[in-house]
Assembly symmetry: C2
Homo-oligomer: 448 residues x 2
Amino acid sequence: MQQVHKQEFNIGICGLGTVGGGTFHLLQTKQDEITRRLGRVLKISHVASRRRNPALDLADIRFSTDVFAVADDPQVDILVEVMGGTEPALPLILRAIENGKHVVTANKALIAVHGNEIFAAAKRKGVTVAYESAVAGGIPIIKALREGLAANSIHWLAGIINGTGNFILTEMAEKGRSFPDVLKEAQELGYAEADPTFDVEGIDAAHKLTILASNAFGIALQFDKVYTEGISKITIADVHYAEELGYRIKHLGITRMTDKGVEIRVHPTLVSAQRLIANVNGVMNAVVVKGDSVGSTLYYGAGAGAQATASSVVADLIDTARSYGDMSRGNPGNVPSLAFDSLRTDLPVLDIEDIESEYYLRIAAKDQIGVMAQISQILTNFGINIEALIQKEPDHGANGDVVVPVVILTGKVLERRMNEALVAIEQLEQVVDKVVRIRVELFDGEDS
Amino acid sequence: MQQVHKQEFNIGICGLGTVGGGTFHLLQTKQDEITRRLGRVLKISHVASRRRNPALDLADIRFSTDVFAVADDPQVDILVEVMGGTEPALPLILRAIENGKHVVTANKALIAVHGNEIFAAAKRKGVTVAYESAVAGGIPIIKALREGLAANSIHWLAGIINGTGNFILTEMAEKGRSFPDVLKEAQELGYAEADPTFDVEGIDAAHKLTILASNAFGIALQFDKVYTEGISKITIADVHYAEELGYRIKHLGITRMTDKGVEIRVHPTLVSAQRLIANVNGVMNAVVVKGDSVGSTLYYGAGAGAQATASSVVADLIDTARSYGDMSRGNPGNVPSLAFDSLRTDLPVLDIEDIESEYYLRIAAKDQIGVMAQISQILTNFGINIEALIQKEPDHGANGDVVVPVVILTGKVLERRMNEALVAIEQLEQVVDKVVRIRVELFDGEDS
């Protein structure tokens, strides 16, 4: 049987918000160049959104207010889901798959939480669900993990994968501004939502890290097991002490393969100021990936925005059209949804207490002789090394006491041991506040 | 007709040097993980090299001293060419293609010079020639350009794509050592060849840039039109003056789309010390790509070495096996060799005199009143702005004269105008040496 290769692919776009509008615009304005790359045409044939966007020229394009009309349109080859949320995105994507359509989605929360179900349905029907734009916007990091580094066992990866958080931390570090002050500006600039929880409490980053971890290690998506800590408690004092020690505070998503299981965690992290990733500023994203063959590689770019995200949505469309030259179903040669043809089920996700890390500690102590000796003794009792220590000028504590900020960088220790040590330190009569504890990431001493 | 999908791909490796040995080792030690990713097996079935390498276990593997035996072996599905050079690599690859085999090669010089012929032959036979490892070692930069950024018109890209050169410049900057001194160490460390011309005169970088430019813009490979200038004339004085002005000197490959044509050029370049790429040190590589949708993205990693290069060779093997699930020939859905299904032939490669750039100038002038005024006047006459100027303490020139080093950063100007201005400046009686001229790259003010 001679295969007949389609000369034109019909695209259905569901959602005309920021990313949907950007995708629409890109497909329209770049049609010639895309055709020159692909040798065939990507044609928008159907668009659905609650409201017609008067800025978009929908001549010759079917328009529906019901997104399911796109999933049920026999003309549509590839459905683009750029609405966000779970309802109706999840049933919509499942319907499209059931109807034998390929799907491209930018929906990180949906993939992180419902991806296993979606990918299983896609595998049964032999269609692709592509989601490059769901992680780190325009940076082709999913492609790098699934394809470019396919010869590697990934040891770990660490990324700045939330631009809002990085903008806030950059402003705090560069201009000495406080967290609430910068957050307010980020909201005014449109970088942060009116309810900033998803960004500043790390939930958005946790969604993306869930997806990265699965692609790095070939494990099912397990969003509910990700440890997530935001940046809302980072103070300018900690930013300055970190700097004094040669570090910057970045909000990192880190996932690592260990002998005991997989770490998947999002939290503020001290990173040596010498590293490239410590110098990724403003709203930009970057991911460092450590593979056993390639060593450290780093991928940097815009993690959000209509155009950068649409860049990845359209790359996914081109990929899908290239892979499915004849749109035949069930091509087993295609790239697996989560990088591996078969996922490992023997790898537990570690509880945060079971990770090992170096730590930054800031202890507010009453200025009394002997307090340093007591703190040191406690750390020693728990087997924790002091790698660096700064004792600052006395300052005034919350209740008016004169307190001395003591800043310590520790050696590597099990987090459970560190928690026990902190309980003991906080029980000291001279320690007046909860100890501030921020994890430090040394990246195994690797470059970047 | 039911397609039958191969469960096993037979790999033939030609060459068992550094990269060949690394590829052999990686395929052998990673067989389980590769199978888990691919769902099928990559099996080394035939190896050819002039000498048997006693360190490699060739049990169950056919061995030949004639590489053409691999190209003619009907068992072999994919031929890996990791010998380097043109003879016999070129006829070998053409023979493999003629025999309907896919090819993976790490041979940058061969692709840069003979790629057009090779890709045309591959297209006729409907086979793939993959070459990710030919550029920037383990960094998946070809994949990023051809696939990840496929929705973008690329405006320009700039890369540190020769690790030896970057190692030398890094040592000069960080330790104040001279070029010949560091080159000698690089040779002792094995970073540089006994004949270092290819690395330090920019030929190796020009090969890689040729390939990057074609993938960025969809033009034929045109190695003979690349402007190439090495780092052997960079002095420690220039490194220091650059630093004083807030810049680092990097050996960059730059290619840019302009209204008049395409720039493809390799030369030492001043880059603001604030940029990520200015902070890529030692033997590491990095490429910044500016796309119209995505903005600036950067890719960083090891550009050489047996393991990093083998990482890309094996990624190409996995890619080829994924794309050609049934190894059927002529799948038009595959990624085009040079990113575009049809190449543009209307774009001239610009002569270096037709580029526009900012410049760093170092002028050795006799310490006489009025020389600065004369130099300024000449620059003004040629329409060249002075953006920054340092006049240093008097020093002793080559012939014992007391000379004043004058360092100037200029605004943007056509290189032809700059050359004319330099002729005029060098004719001044007070100017005692040829003017040192290094191009400055501002990256359109983009990030990274």
